[in-house]
Structures are given as C-alpha cells and as structure tokens.
C-alpha cells in the first residue's frame, strides 16, 4: 500500500504544472458478485481512489476492503473480511500499471483500452491485462470495466464447507468518474 501512496505522490508531483494531464477519481463504485450454486453474493464499495496520468499512460486505483457493503448478512461480511480477505492484514486492493492503447484524451468519444498492470488482492500481485471502456466527455473521463478474479490466483482459500456457497471466480465491475486535477 505504501508503494501505491508513493506512486500517487510521484504521479502528482512529477506532473506538477501539467495538472490537466492528471485525472482523479471523483466518484467511483466497485462491486463484485459470486455466483455459487447455493448462494449469490454481491457487495459494493464507493470508496474508490485513483488517478490516471495521461501523459505517462499510467494509472493507479485502490479500494479499501472493509468498505464493501451490501452482503446478505452481517456474518457474511465478517467472514468476507476476516476469513477470506484478511482485511486487517491486507486492508486494500489495488491495480496499477499502464494503458496500452494511445487514445486522444482531448477528443470526446468512447474508447476501449487495455489496462495492463499488477493487480494486488489479498497481498498477492498478479500481472493482468484488463479491458476497460473510457468515455471522454467535455474534459471529464468515465471508466468502466468488468473483469474476473480467480480466488486461487490470490491465495484466497475457500473452506470446503462453503465451496458450494462461494464461486472460485468472482466477477468484478468498476465504474469511475474522473476529473482533471486543478
């Protein structure tokens, strides 16, 4: 997480004076859902922080794990935080890296890009290429992306007794509105 903060600082500091190059998340939502045979679980968090540096084609996003809400029961939320995500040890999930495609951020439109970087969940980093949709509209940026997280990739262990209730692959969706840093 420290790295992430450092990156944030670096990104802000490094492009001081070109502030219109840096976009910051003003409003974001990240949700996941697990479709297991016996139970559907979904939760979401509005606590999304992130920046995109269009001059360097770099980005960084993070979300606090305990901020996820909307579980089927408080117990489920407790299990989520304590048993699976161990949010006391790994309080955040992050994705940082670079945008592969070159797009014209000054021109309004909808672009599909690949965001390549390190996805850190449960303290385990995975190299991922995640497809995202970027909408540019009058100086603001809207990011929308859906991807899958394989729990075993991030060393998240599912107890045998709940294997019917928790899918091994979790669907994640993120939407974020970004505005240039003034």
């Amino acid at each position: 997480m420290r790295l992430f903060c450092l990156l944030l600082i670096c990104l802000c500091w490094g492009t001081d004076g070109f502030s219109q190059q840096i976009y910051e998340v003003k409003r974001g939502k990240i949700s996941f859902h697990s479709e297991a045979p016996q139970e559907l679980i979904s939760a979401e968090s509005a606590n999304v922080k992130g920046v995109v540096d269009i001059s360097k084609k770099a980005f960084a996003f993070k979300v606090g794990i305990p901020t996820f809400m909307g579980f089927n029961s408080p117990l489920q939320k407790e299990h989520f935080n304590e048993n699976y995500m161990e949010s006391n040890i790994f309080p955040e999930a992050s994705f940082r890296g670079k945008v592969i495609e070159d797009i014209d951020y000054t021109k309004d439109g909808v672009y599909t890009v690949r965001a390549k970087g390190k996805l850190n969940i449960h303290g385990i980093e995975k190299e991922r290429i995640i497809k995202s949709e970027i909408t540019i509209k009058s100086g603001t940026m809207k990011i929308k992306s859906n991807f899958t997280v394989i729990l075993s990739d991030h060393d998240i262990k599912i107890p045998r007794v709940v294997s019917e209730k928790l899918a091994p692959e979790i669907q994640v969706a993120i939407t974020a509105d970004l505005k240039p840093v003034k």
Binding site: K98, I100, E101, R114, K116, I129
Partner: protein, 947 residues
C-alpha cells in the same frame, strides 16, 4: 527420482476432421497440476521443465526435481549449446551444472524482476527479457537497455536474435529493433502504426534467414522481415484471429509455424499463399510454451503440466455415427483426395480434406468387398469381392458394373502393370487389358503355380513403379515378375517365409514383405533382411505393410502399428500404451490406403488413423547420458578422469532418454581397454572393481529394442595410474639402487678381503718375527743362564721359573692367531714375562700395574702388544740396581698406557725388535683409533687404544 505417476489420454471430440494424439503428463509426484512456464531440450537430450515449483528434468519416463539454490518460481529456461540457463521470478539467473542449478555470478546488479525469456547471441552472450528492460549478460557483467535508450517499453516479453548485430524485443508497446553499430546501441520502434496487429507483443521468434514471427495479446500472429530499418513483407491475420493470446511460436520456416495460445489452442500456421490456420483445441488448458523436439513430437507446457502432441506425424479421425471403421474390409484413395471404403458389402466414400468425417454411401456390392483399386484421378474404382467377382464403380454415373470374365471369382488383389490389369484370386492371377471397355475385359493371360507365380494363392500384387510386379503368395513367399520372367527367393537369400500377406516398396526402392508369423522382410536388391520383435516389432503376425513418400514404412499388426524410420534405424510404436488410444486395429489383410501425397490411412475401432509424410527431420534414436561416476560407491565431486592406482572401483550411472516410446530401454556397454566385448543390460548402472592400471573408455549405448544398428552413445574416458612400483621411473631407480648396493657390497667385500688378507699377512709376519724374537738367542741365553743359576740356588724357584717360561711360550703360541684378546689375558702374559725378567734383574726391574678390574675383563687389546712394549722398555733402557727400571701400566676406559723413565742404553741390544711399527700396523687393520706415543718429562709413554 520421481515416478511418472499418471497419464491421461485426451480424445477431444472436436469439430476438426483430424486431431493429433496427445497425452498429458503429471510433472510432480502428487499428480496435481503444476504450472509450467518454460521448457527446453538440452543437447544431451533431457527436457528441462521450468515450473512454479522449480525445475524438473525429464527423460521420457520419469521427472526428477532438480536442486535449485535460488528456490523461486522458474519463469524461463534456455538450452544454449551444452549449457542450460534458468531464469527465475525474482530476476536471478541460474545455470544447470550436473544435477544442480547454480546461481550465475555477476559483478554488478542483474535484473530484479521476472526473467521472462533467455536467448543467446553468439558465444557467452545472453539476452534476458525482463520487466525492467532488456539485460545483456556477458563475461559476468549485466548491461541494461531500457526506455532511456529508446526501448519502446520496459516490459519486455521476449528477445530474438535476428541478423548478426540485430535483436528484436517484444514489449507492451510494440517491438524494438536493437542494433549494434560500432559498439553503440541503436533502437528502432515498431507498433500498430507501422502495421503490427497489436502493441502487446508476447512472442518474438526469428527464422534463420532474417524473418520474424511475432505473437500478440489480441492481434494473433504476424510474420515480418526487415529491409534495413523498414518493416517489409508483413503478414497478419488479426481480422480472422479467434484463438486468444499467443503464448509461444515454433517457426518451421518463414511460411510455416506452430503457435500456442492462452485459450488452449495449438495452431498450425501456413502463410505460404494465404493465411491458413489449422487449430487443435485442448479445452480447459492454457498453453504457455511450445517445443518441437528432435524426435518430431511437439510438447506443450500448460497450466497443468506437460502434454505431448503427435501432430507432426500421426493423427486420427473419428468416424461419425453410424459408421464404425472397425468393420472396414478394403480402402483406397483416389486422386481427388477421396477415400473409398469397403465396409462389408457397402461402398462408402469420404473427402479427406473436409472438416467433417462423414462417409457417404456410394453403392452396394453383392458380396463382401475384399480389395479396391484406382488409377489416376479420372478413372473409376475397381472393386474385388469374395465370391462375386470383380466390379467397376463409375464415379460419374454412380453405378457399379460387373467384369463378366471374372464372374463369381474370389478376388484378393488388383494391380496394373504395363497397361494390363492383374487380378489375384483364389485360382491364380488373371491378366486383363485396361484399355478394353469394362464390359469387354477378357482374360488375356492366366498365371498360376505352373506358369511361375509359385502359388495359386496370391494375397497381394504390387507394382513398384520400377517395372517390377511383386506377388505376396501363400506357399512360395515373394515372387517377382519383371515382364519377362519370374523370380523367387529362398532361405539362402534370407527369405525364410513361405507365406507372405502384404508387400510394398519404399522410397529407396526397398521391398517390404509382411508375413503371418515371421515379422517383416526387407529386400534391398541383394538380400532379404528379417525384422522381428528383437528389432522392435510389437508382433510377428503382420496384416499389412504400407509406405509413405518420405521413407517411412508402416507395419500393421493386431497389437499395434510400427512405423519404420530408416534414418533412426528403428520402429516408432503405436499402441494403447504408447501414444494412441487404439483399442483394436482391423484384422483384415492389406486394409490400408495411401493418398496422392503419400499419407497413409489405417482403420481402427474409433475411426481412421493417419500417418503423415514427415516434413521435418526426425531423430527417434534415444539419447544416453552418463549422469554420474562413482568411486567406491561415492559420487565423484570433481570431474576428474585420472585416478590413482588404488582408486580402481568405478560405478557408472547412465540413463536413456527417449520421448518416442516410453517403455523400457535397452543398453549395451563396454569398457574399452579392459573388455572389448559389448555387454547387454537393462540396468542403468554398472560397477567395475579392481581395475588394472591403464587408459579406458567407457561406452554405453541405448536402444529401444535389441537392435543396436544405429544408436547413440555416451563416452567417459579415464585412466588409472600404474602403482608407483610399476612406474618406469621407479623401476629405473630400483635397478640403479640394486646395482649400487651390489657394487657397494662387492666393493666393501673386496676391501674387507684385502684387509683380512693384509691382517693375515701382518699376523703371519708378526708371528714369525715374534717367534723369532722369543727364540732370540739372547733371551733364551739370558733365560737359560738365569735358570741355570736358579737351579743351583733354589731348585724350587727354578721349577717355578721354568713353568713361567713355558706359560709364556704357550701364551704366545695360543694367542698369536687371535686378532684381539682380553686385557686380563694380556696382563697374564705380562706377569709371566715379568716373572722371568724379574728373576733375572731382581729389584732392578719393577712393574707397577694399576688397571681397574672391570676394564681388565671388558676391554681388549691386540695380543702381545703390551708384552712387546714392556720388552722394548727393558731392551732399550738401562736396568740396574742403582737405577731400577719401573714400568707403569695403567688404563682408563679408552686406553692402556705403558710408561717408563727414559734411560737409554748406550749400546743397543742386538736383534731386530718387533717395535711400535708392528703394533701400529696391526691396530690400523682393526681400528681407526690411534696409538699415541710420546716422550715427556723424560718419560717414554705409549698408549694403546682399548677395544
């Protein structure tokens, strides 16, 4: 050693007509999936498999985990020359040394991120693709090239060597062409703007003439070349690509390659005329890496382990219901790539190049089809039946016509030869004219046992395209007809079979004959050579032989199929245990087909087996490798080959490596210089004990069968030193020493002898002189005068005197022969002598003896030496009553000394004295100790050494 625990056969019923055979291998012993990231075939034949758990070494039968001091996920492996390099997730570079992976040391910092790929450019120069740029490693030093040098992106997937000074790096932002111009790095970038299908370039592979294949994340594969810095000849297939991210490419040529993808596809890419992709899908797998090894198999490294794919040489087609090819009785391929099948009475056809393998019924025959024949693309299909004669199928009219002249015949085989159709049936061979209309074909000539065929039963007729017609007969073995006369062979020519079922000619013109119980025979134009189980055949009962266009011969038996590879001199086996999921193969004789290009088709229980021509060189021979040499059962730590004379028990551990036939390997070995006979074994170790000294060469060879015709070998040369006592220098030294000692011995003996002689001589002279002196008339006269005086004065004393005199003479006589006498004995003589002299001189002569008792008994002197000294003292000095002569004799540990006052006589006594020189000479012969004589204080002193 980890044991290959499980195999899993994949027979995915995919949409393709042809599927390769594949087999999965569990890499670890727990039979759990292991993510394989890298795979390489080393020069010694081993496969090195880089996984999340470390490196496994595979010999075709067992995987063994290698000890790795770096202990990280292995992300890349490269076999470069004889070296194998291993890249790790943490950026460490290792190298395989013996059974271990050892970290490669460097003087400066190497990569700190995953080494994704290792390649070589020239000797001792490695290229590492990492997430922080390209690293060059040479002579223990890393050089980094990154975006500050102009690299398109620091995330580099692969580096490939192009021309002499060019390498190509695939990155997240296109490819970078790195050139070295006068020692300076020059980088040119290429991306989608230059026409690449995608900017994420995961794979870069060079073809030896300067072309490159690239594989991308979304845009599929592309082939490109450079004209200086200009991208030329770029071929892409992005628009039609539907197989996912390309993970690896194996280039066959600039136009042909294999590729594997993240979504489980193995793809054959043919870019010759147009982009042509032939996909094979392995559902549920992610294929990470691809390797074609020299035995012609393709290995896929997957997220679960390894898979071997037979795609290059064998494939199969599943028969679509309701057809089951196990009941096919005859097959033939027509020139238009159509396969014709006789399934009992049904004539079926199917397109070979079509995506689906669904046969179409063409006609029904009145009896079971036994054989089929077609020539050229145009003509129809000739069909032989069992009991209902010969028929012709007209493809245009889609109609069968009977050849009336052979009505109700039992047809076994059909061939054409010099415009004639030869038809074998149960009563010989009939010759028809193919130019006649089908309905008017009459028998021109009838051949049978009487006319020379050798037998009335002919199972197969084969035209070898060299103007010879071959007959597989029942009773006469093989018969050949060259247009004029018949030839036959017997056991003198090597042909021991009387019954031959099947016959075919290979590309070299060799004739192959399959027999029901004696395996196959090969005729090279001179002799027949037999191939049996000992040569690797699975069964001696052969139903069919067939040949393709690239030199291979297929031998079909009930137990499986063996394909002969002449360059490797061995059979590749196909059966349920090895590669194919073949439950049973048709037992019908000569039920094989060959298409226009030479690929061979054999029916099996599930469909058709396809044995293709080989496009690439294949070496099936097993490798053999001496892994370890042990001395007295302990591993040799150093790689020495020179042993001491007592290091004479050596154990050689060796291992055969074969990926073609995973059953047991056979070995033979010999120790040249010790025993020049080959010794056959199935063991993988041999111990030699009590080896003599000498130079030796341990040679071991491995074979799939008992035939060691063209095998590979591994050699370990060593020497055992001769023991030092057998070495030439030692022998020379020993001879020198022996001769030296002999010389010295002789020398000293000679010297001794001379000395003894001289002693003897001296003694004799002394004796003579002494006796002469003792019988000196003066002494005798004086003694006798004294005696006579005594007789008158004192008769008793006279007797005493006489006794003393005789004692003296006896002593002189008895001691004269001795070299040394005890001092006590000498003193006895002195006393006798002094008695005689004192009797004469009375008080004028006095003797003063002070010798310790111990010295008297232990020390020795030369006999009569003291006596002579005393005698001389008396002789040379005045002895008178007024001046008595006192002779002192005293001794210490070293010397006995005679001392007297010096009062020389004026007149010398007559006669030669024996004197000091005699004593000195005698002493000199015995000892080095010196006699000391001196005159001091008017005293005459002589000291004799005591011995």
């Amino acid at each position: 050693m980890r044991i290959l625990l499980g195999i899993l056969l994949l027979l995915s019923l995919s949409a393709q007509a042809q599927s390769p055979f594949s087999r999965d291998f569990w890499v670890n012993e727990t039979q759990t999936p292991v993510n394989v990231n890298a795979i390489a075939e080393a020069a010694n034949g081993y496969l090195y498999v880089g996984t999340d758990e470390g490196v496994y070494r595979f010999n075709g039968r067992t995987f063994s985990m290698m000890s790795d001091s770096i202990k990280q996920t292995v992300t890349s492996i490269a076999a470069i020359g004889n070296d194998v390099y291993v890249g790790h997730a943490g950026g460490y570079l290792g190298r395989v040394i013996g059974e271990k992976i050892v970290k490669v040391n460097a003087v400066n910092r190497g990569p700190g991120t995953r080494i994704r790929n290792i390649s070589s450019r020239g000797k001792g120069l490695l290229w590492l693709a990492t997430e922080e740029g390209v690293f060059l490693f040479t002579q223990g030093r890393y050089y980094r090239i990154n975006d500050s040098h102009g690299l398109s992106d620091n995330f580099v997937y692969e580096v490939a060597k192009g021309g002499n000074n060019t390498v190509l790096a695939g990155t997240d932002n296109g490819i970078s062409k790195i050139d070295f111009i006068n020692g300076k790095v020059s980088i040119k970038k290429y991306g989608t703007q230059q026409g690449l299908p995608d900017n994420i370039v995961n794979v870069v592979k060079a073809v030896n003439y300067g072309a490159f294949w690239i594989g991308t994340n979304e845009g599929g594969v592309a082939r490109l070349t450079f004209d200086k810095d200009k991208l030329t000849d770029l071929l892409t297939c992005k628009s039609t690509w539907k197989w996912g991210q390309v993970n690896d490419i194996y280039p066959i040529s600039g136009n042909e390659a294999w590729a594997v993808t993240e979504t489980g596809f193995l793809l054959h890419l043919d870019f010759k005329d147009s982009v042509n992709v032939r996909p094979y899908h392995f559902a549920g797998k992610k294929i990470r890496k691809l390797l074609r090894i020299k035995s012609g198999n393709i290995w896929c490294a997957t997220n679960e382990g390894l898979a071997i794919v037979t795609v290059e040489h064998a494939a199969y087609t599943i028969a679509q219901a309701p057809y089951f090819f196990s009941t096919v009785t005859a097959m033939v391929c027509s020139g238009d790539n159509k396969l014709w099948l006789g399934q009992q009475r049904e004539l079926l056809s199917m397109q070979l190049k079509r995506d689906t393998a669904s046969p179409v019924r063409e006609a029904m025959l009145p009896a079971d089809i036994t054989c089929m024949y077609t020539h050229g693309t145009g003509g129809g299909i000739w069909i032989g039946t069992f009991g209902k004669g010969l028929w012709h199928y007209n493809k245009v009219l889609e109609r069968i016509e009977e050849i009336e002249s052979l009505r109700d015949g039992h047809i076994l085989s059909i061939a054409t030869f010099k415009s004639r159709m030869w038809v074998a049936s149960l009563n010989g061979v009939d010759e028809l004219d193919i130019n006649d209309a089908e309905g008017k074909m009459f028998v021109k000539t009838h051949h049978n046992k009487a006319s020379g065929v050798g037998s009335d039963y002919v199972y197969q007729i084969y035209n070898d395209k060299k103007g010879r017609l071959w007959f597989a007969t029942d009773g006469a073995g093989v018969t050949m007809y060259d247009g004029r006369k018949y030839y036959n062979w017997d056991s003198a020519d090597g042909m021991t079979a009387k019954v031959v079922y099947s016959i075919a000619a290979d590309t070299k013109g060799n004739i192959w004959a399959g027999t029901p119980d004696k395996g196959v025979f090969r005729y090279d134009g001179k002799k027949w050579e037999q191939f049996t189980i000992l040569n690797g055949l699975q069964d001696m009962s052969i139903t069919s032989v067939a040949t393709n266009s690239t030199g291979q011969t297929l031998v079909v038996t009930q137990k499986g199929i063996d394909e002969w590879f002449p360059e490797s001199h061995l059979f590749r086996k196909f059966n349920k245990k090895t590669n194919l999921d073949v439950e049973s193969i048709s037992s019908v004789l000569n039920c094989v087909a060959k298409d226009a290009s030479g690929n061979m088709y054999v029916p099996f229980d599930k469909g058709l087996l396809i044995f293709t021509n080989l496009q690439n060189k294949v070496d099936l021979r097993p490798d053999v490798y001496i892994n370890e040499v042990r001395l007295f059962f302990r591993p040799l730590n150093d790689n020495r080959t020179d042993f001491g004379y007592d290091e004479n028990q050596l154990t050689f551990h060796f291992e055969g490596i074969s990926y073609s036939n995973v059953e047991r390997l056979h070995y033979r070995y010999k120790l040249k210089g010790y025993n020049n006979e080959w010794i056959h074994t199935d063991d993988e170790a041999i111990t030699y004990s009590q080896l003599p000294a000498g130079k030796f060469k341990f040679i071991v060879q491995a074979s799939l069968d008992k035939d060691f015709g063209a095998v590979k070998e591994s050699v370990y040369s060593f020497s055992i030193d001769a023991p030092f006592w057998k070495s030439p220098w030692f022998l020379i030294l020993a001879i020198v020493v022996v001769f030296g000692l002999l010389y010295l011995y002789i020398h000293f003996r000679e010297k001794n002898l001379r000395k003894v002689n001289r002693l003897q001589e001296e003694r004799m002279r002394f004796e003579y002189e002494h006796l002469k002196s003792q019988v000196n008339p003066h002494f005798l006269f004086n003694s006798l005068n004294t005696l006579s005086a005594l007789i008158e004065e004192d008769a008793g004393k006279a007797v005493d005197y006489t006794e003393q005199l005789s004692d003296l003479y006896r002593a002189v006589l008895s001691y004269k022969n001795m070299d040394l006498i005890k001092l006590a004995d000498e003193m006895e003589i002195i006393r006798n002598y002094m008695y005689i002299q004192q009797t004469r001189f009375g008080q004028a002569l006095q003797l003063n003896v002070t010798i310790p008792e111990k010295i008297l008994e232990t020390k020795k002197v030369i006999p009569l030496a003291l006596q002579i000294l005393v005698e001389n003292a008396i002789k040379h000095n005045v002895v008178s009553r007024s001046e008595p002569l006192v002779i002192y004799i005293y001794a210490d540990e070293e010397h006995v000394t005679v001392k007297n006052d010096l009062r020389p006589k004026i007149t010398k006594e007559e006669g030669e004295g024996l004197g000091l020189p005699n004593i000195q000479r005698r002493y000199a012969l015995i000892t080095k100790k010196q006699i000391v004589h001196k005159i001091s204080d008017n005293q005459y002193i002589v000291s004799l050494p005591l011995l």
